[in-house]
Structures are given as structure tokens and as C-alpha cells.
């Protein structure tokens, strides 16, 4: 693998972090959603990151080739019940199930995604500079 392969690695991380930020945005946007196609209130979503690997020349040494989002899983926390008897989605006792989403938690997650994105973007810059420098040999 050459230096261009490094761009793929950092690119995979940029993509994964952006998807993570999208999931956080969806969680925040659906904080008050009580109806979903699956029925019931919206469930908070988590992303699951997994390493991408490729076997090297020897089978025993595996080469990391970046990261990918393997799955987006719903949170298992029970919904929050609020007493709103007038609400169309209220149950027989007058309680409405709202998604268990903590905005502070989501913001922290979003901040983590932003930082990681920036870090990988600077890795791309570093790699680009190295490629450009190797062109200097020809001059």
C-alpha cells in the first residue's frame, strides 16, 4: 500500500464520523417524536464502529485499512412517560411515551464526532503534503 492508501484510511474515518454526527442529529431532532413506522415513540440510535482489516502478505499480520460503521442499534432504555391526557398518543391512563434522549449526552457525542473528524482531516492534510513532497524528487 502506498501513500494514496493512507488517504483511503483517513477517508473511511471521515465518512464514519460524519455518519455518527448524522445519527446524533437525528436523535436530537426526534426528541419529542411519539409516532414511528415501527410503532411507539422514537428510540435513540447508537453507531457501532468496527475496524476494517485486510490480510497482509503473511496471513498472521493483519493490516488495518480504516474504520467503518458496522451497525446502528437502538437504545434499550425504556421510554419516558409524561402525563398528558389530551395528547392523541396517550395511553388509557393518560400517559404519553416520549423517547429517552438526553440532549447533553447527544451534544457530548456530537463534540466527540466533530473533534475526531477534524483530527482525521488534518491527517489527510499531512498525507497530501507528503505526496506533494515526494513529487519534489522528480524536479
Amino acid at each position: 500500500m502506498n501513500l494514496f492508501g493512507v488517504l483511503d484510511i483517513s477517508g473511511s474515518a471521515l465518512k464514519a464520523e460524519r455518519q455518527r454526527a448524522e445519527v446524533v442529529a437525528a436523535n436530537l431532532a426526534n426528541m419529542e417524536t411519539t409516532r414511528t413506522p415501527e410503532g411507539g415513540p422514537y428510540r435513540r440510535k447508537h453507531v457501532v464502529f468496527a475496524t476494517q482489516e485486510q490480510f497482509g502478505r503473511v496471513l498472521s499480520d493483519r493490516m488495518g485499512t480504516g474504520v467503518a460503521i458496522r451497525d446502528v442499534v437502538p437504545d434499550s432504555a425504556p421510554a419516558i412517560k409524561r402525563y398528558e391526557p389530551g395528547h392523541p398518543d396517550a395511553d388509557s391512563e393518560g400517559y404519553v411515551s416520549y423517547p429517552a434522549i438526553n440532549p447533553v449526552e447527544e451534544m457530548v457525542d456530537l463534540m466527540g464526532a466533530t473533534r475526531a473528524y477534524g483530527l482525521n482531516a488534518s491527517a489527510v492534510t499531512a498525507t497530501k503534503q507528503m505526496i506533494q513532497q515526494s513529487l519534489e524528487i522528480l524536479k
Binding site: L3, A13, F49, D61, T65, V67, G112, A116, I137
Partner: protein, 118 residues
């Protein structure tokens, strides 16, 4: 080895290969900064360079997990500071290698041009 390859250019080639390889590992560490259970990887630059120079050809460098890093609760031990520092260092090493290689080729060119500049 062709007639234009010198000892120095061969050495610098190995040096640049290793620097690029290490850069790749660092990029992968940074990419996996949020992957649960991921362990930071690195090579022993000095030992690998010595090995490449004595053994001649350059086999794939040996990749090790980095010792002595603090592991987070999710099993990941990538240190942001360590990786940023190493990335800067590797970038400079690469630059040094490129500059030295250029100088070497200029020296050759000087010999070809019988000492005239340019």
C-alpha cells in the same frame, strides 16, 4: 541496482518506505480513535531501518501493539497526543528523506554535467 542508484539513494529509499509505512499505521490509529477494543499499533523505526539495511531487501515491517498507553473503559487505547506528535514527526522525517534524496540526485546530475551547474 542500476548505474544511477547509489548506496545513499538505496538507504534513503528504505528510510522513506519505513516513514510512509509508519504514517499509514498512525493514520489507521487515528481513524480508529472511537472503535471499541482497538489497540494502537506502531513499528520500531530504528530496529526496522537497521534490519532493512543489513538484510538488504525490505520485508514487511513487524507491527506491534504499543505498550504503556492508558486504556479507556471501551478497551481502546489510542492516545490523541501521541498520534498527533508522531504524525508530525513522521512527516518531518519523510521531508528530510526527500530533501536528502534530491541532493543526492543533484550530485549525480553535477557529475553528468561535468561540474557545470543546472
Amino acid at each position: 541496482m542500476t548505474s544511477l542508484d547509489t548506496n545513499t539513494s538505496g538507504l534513503l529509499g528504505h528510510y522513506l518506505d519505513l516513514a510512509a509505512f509508519r504514517h499509514r499505521l498512525i493514520a489507521n490509529n487515528v481513524a480508529n480513535i472511537d472503535t471499541p477494543g482497538f489497540k494502537a499499533q506502531d513499528i520500531d523505526f530504528g530496529a526496522e531501518l537497521k534490519h532493512a539495511l543489513t538484510a538488504g531487501g525490505s520485508p514487511e515491517p513487524k507491527v506491534n501493539n504499543v505498550d504503556g498507553l492508558i486504556e479507556r473503559p471501551d478497551g481502546n487505547n489510542v492516545s490523541l497526543d501521541r498520534e498527533s506528535m508522531l504524525m508530525a514527526q513522521t512527516q518531518l522525517q519523510f521531508r528530510v528523506g526527500v530533501q536528502l534524496l534530491r541532493t543526492e540526485y543533484h550530485r549525480l546530475l553535477l557529475a553528468i554535467n561535468e561540474g557545470r551547474q543546472g
